[in-house]
Amino acid sequence: MDFSLSDDQLMLQQNARQFFTAQRGTRPARKAMEGDVASTKALWKQMAELGYPAITIAEAFGGAGEGFLSLVPVLEEAGRVLAPGPLPETVGFAVPLLTRLGTQAQKQQYLQGIADGSEIVTLAFYESSCDAFAGQATVTAERTAAGFRLNGQKVLVPNADLATALIVLARTTAGPAGEGLSLFIVDPKASGVQMRLQRPMDQTRPLFAVSFEQTEVGEEALIGPLDEGWTAAEEALRTLAVSLSVLSVGAMDACVEQSAEYAKTRVQFGQPIGRFQAVKHRIVDMKVNLETARSLTYYAAWALEEGSSDRHVAAADAKSFTAQAFVRVANANIQNHGGMGFTWEAEPHLYAKRAKAWENYIGSPEAHLDYIAAAQGW
């Protein structure tokens, strides 16, 4: 029984903390808010140089070959500063998916590319008419002589402007939810692909509607077995859910730190406001939420790495609790800052918007709770 990060992991955390501090905290996030894609690209390049996206990629493909737990410190630090870019989608979804199901050629192209920073992958899963995470899709991929032809529109695709590859859930065979779907990895510059910005509350994380019109992709675009894409996706979505939880824990940690710092320095009625129990105890409630989310999230990360039988439930525990706790903590952080907390220049609103954006991303808390219930046969 040892519930702590290893010395190597702690060192990774320290390095990541230094790196993001050197980027001046949320400055890259604020650049992204202003639509500065080049800045996010530059940040990604630096992260790749430090080996962050490569951590869980096999050594054969240029990675460090570490387990999921080694990703935790880096994601947590990235979360603290709301680092822009599709980091969770790339390392939390594409890497485990391709590691498990990719062909040798796919691994060589994408895993190696992710490891060296040349590939940035995002997800095209949601559609306006259906919540993709219920295993549905109206985008179609028809068989052609050379591969497949995609038609239809995806929405809420994060960082599609930056990504070099989209993983697309598409229907290959008629069928009910969860069946007849396949996963494709598609170049966003392929013919017939168009994208339109969907203005999000969390402007650090631009979203796009991506449409496919007669988009031809080769046989090699198919990831995993045909028609069984949903099963494949589901497993990787658990890893993504935990990755989002880790990033959220980092962000919550930043919120607690901001509130504590402000409460120590902001003086009203001749006293630091942290002396008033209304503020003081609210920060404690934030802290308890944070540490509880952290416990559940670390445990889920461990369960994923170990392949433990409760890993799916642990992921749902972590995501459902953390998503709600992050909203509570980030919103309390605004209130603790008073009028200042409501300004654009201050940090708290960035976190509150991220919290709300991720509340329902990859399944609402209710959906994850439903999963917990179903998994236990209730």
């Binding site: 306006s128 919540d131 999000p200 008033f276 300004t343 509150a352 709300k356 509340e359 329902n360």
Partner: protein, 397 residues
């Protein structure tokens, strides 16, 4: 106990409804409630609307008739708020002038001041702002340090205010500041000045808010000049005038209670219209249970207010109950708007491109100010504790 209205009150409501039907901006009744995006156009739009309200005597219904109002009773004032919320009428650009500053000048001003200022308020000929909070004097307002010194026949003002709504549009400012240094009691030695905003020494800078609006300002005073007699009330007794001004806020919370009802009705309609997992949201047992719970809580916001109103009518004075209404309504509205965004599922993370043109996102982000501005929820709780329950004051440090 009687929840009905008198014929006279119903007539008041009917008259207002008829007037609104005639006079709301084009398309407004059909649901187009957008203000012009360009700031200049927005200002012109708002001033025109205010002017139209004044012409119809619907700008300051609580004002005495002699000043262009209707001498409306408290209940009529509430009916006014209810009807304006019902049609989501455009805001009054001079709301602070009409709601608080005008009545304060009428109550405490000299004849000269009344003549000079009051007639230009209702029609927004002169827009007013209110300078109270400072960067280091928020909840602890009396800690303010903006100061004025008398030099010959005028005051020279230096300092910085913050959260001054509409200061960037304002012609005049009701400014609370310090005129005596190191008083024994920090509430002493304060004075209210009526300041011309159009002078070199005054610079409002809009604050960029988390909802991407810029309604509030920082306002800098750098050797700004105020004629000696532009004091409202007495020199060094400005805390009294400042408190009188706040006492005119008594029905403003009605507006929030009615907005709550509007928000709830809108959310209900949304849940009937939108499906999730193949059935209308309203049929989801969790959604249904939660909306039914809000039914009572939203209704109670109005009922609490009506009880407070009845008490005010009987006693003739506002009271700490207003703090309870403010606390209850602002916290509930914030919660309700957050829930509305959650109900949109993953698409709720959009803003302007979200469903219903991003209306819920807009409301959600804006509602964070509601539990802070005009006295934080924590300050309201202190007021309720100390004035309604007789609990000890926080330590005087």
């Amino acid at each position: 106990m009687d929840f009905s209205y008198t014929p006279q009150e119903e007539e008041f409501r009917a008259e207002l409804r008829a007037w609104l039907k005639e006079n709301l901006p084009p398309g407004w009744l059909e649901g187009n409630h957008k203000l012009p995006e360009d700031p200049k156009e927005e200002e012109a739009f708002l001033r025109a609307w205010q002017h139209k309200l004044a012409d119809g005597h619907w700008a300051g219904v609580s004002w005495p008739k002699e000043y262009g109002g209707r001498g409306a009773s408290l209940i009529e004032q509430v009916i006014y708020e209810e009807e304006m919320a019902r049609v989501d009428a455009p805001p009054q650009v001079n709301a602070i002038g009409i709601g608080m500053i005008g009545p304060t000048i009428i109550a405490l001003g000299t004849e000269e001041q009344k003549k000079r200022y009051v007639p230009k308020i209702l029609n927004a000929e002169e827009v007013w702002c209110q300078g109270y909070s400072e960067p280091n004097a928020g909840s602890d307002l009396a800690a303010l340090t903006t100061r004025a010194t008398l030099e010959g026949d005028h005051w020279v003002v230096n300092g910085q205010k913050i959260w001054t709504s509409y200061a960037h549009l304002a012609d005049r400012c009701f400014l609370l500041l310090r005129t005596k240094e190191n008083p024994q009691n920090k509430h002493d030695g304060l004075t209210c000045l009526l300041v011309d905003m159009h002078q070199p020494g005054v610079e409002p800078r809009p604050i960029h808010q988390m909802n991407d609006h810029r309604d509030f300002n920082e306002t800098f005073f750098n050797n700004a000049i105020v004629p000696k007699d532009e004091v409202l009330g007495e020199v060094n007794n400005g805390w009294y005038a400042a408190v009188v001004l706040l006492s005119f806020e008594r029905v403003s919370v009605a507006n929030v209670a009615f907005r709550l009802q509007q928000a709830y009705d809108g959310l209900l309609a949304y849940c009937k219209r939108h499906e999730r997992n193949g059935r209308p949201l309203i049929q989801d047992p969790l959604v249904r249970n939660r909306l039914a719970g809000y039914h009572a809580r939203v209704h109670a916001a109005k009922l609490n207010f009506y009880r407070n109103l009845t008490r005010q009518i009987k006693t003739g004075r506002p009271g700490p109950e207003g703090s309870m209404d403010k606390l209850y309504c602002s916290e509930l509205l914030k919660e309700l708007n957050g829930y509305a965004v959650s109900l949109q599922g993953a698409q709720g993370e959009l803003w302007q491109d979200a469903e219903e043109e991003g209306k819920w996102q807009e409301e959600y982000l804006s509602s964070f100010a509601m539990t802070i501005a005009g006295g934080t929820s924590e300050i309201q709780k202190n007021i309720i504790a100390e004035r309604m329950l007789g609990l000890p004051k926080d330590i005087k440090y």
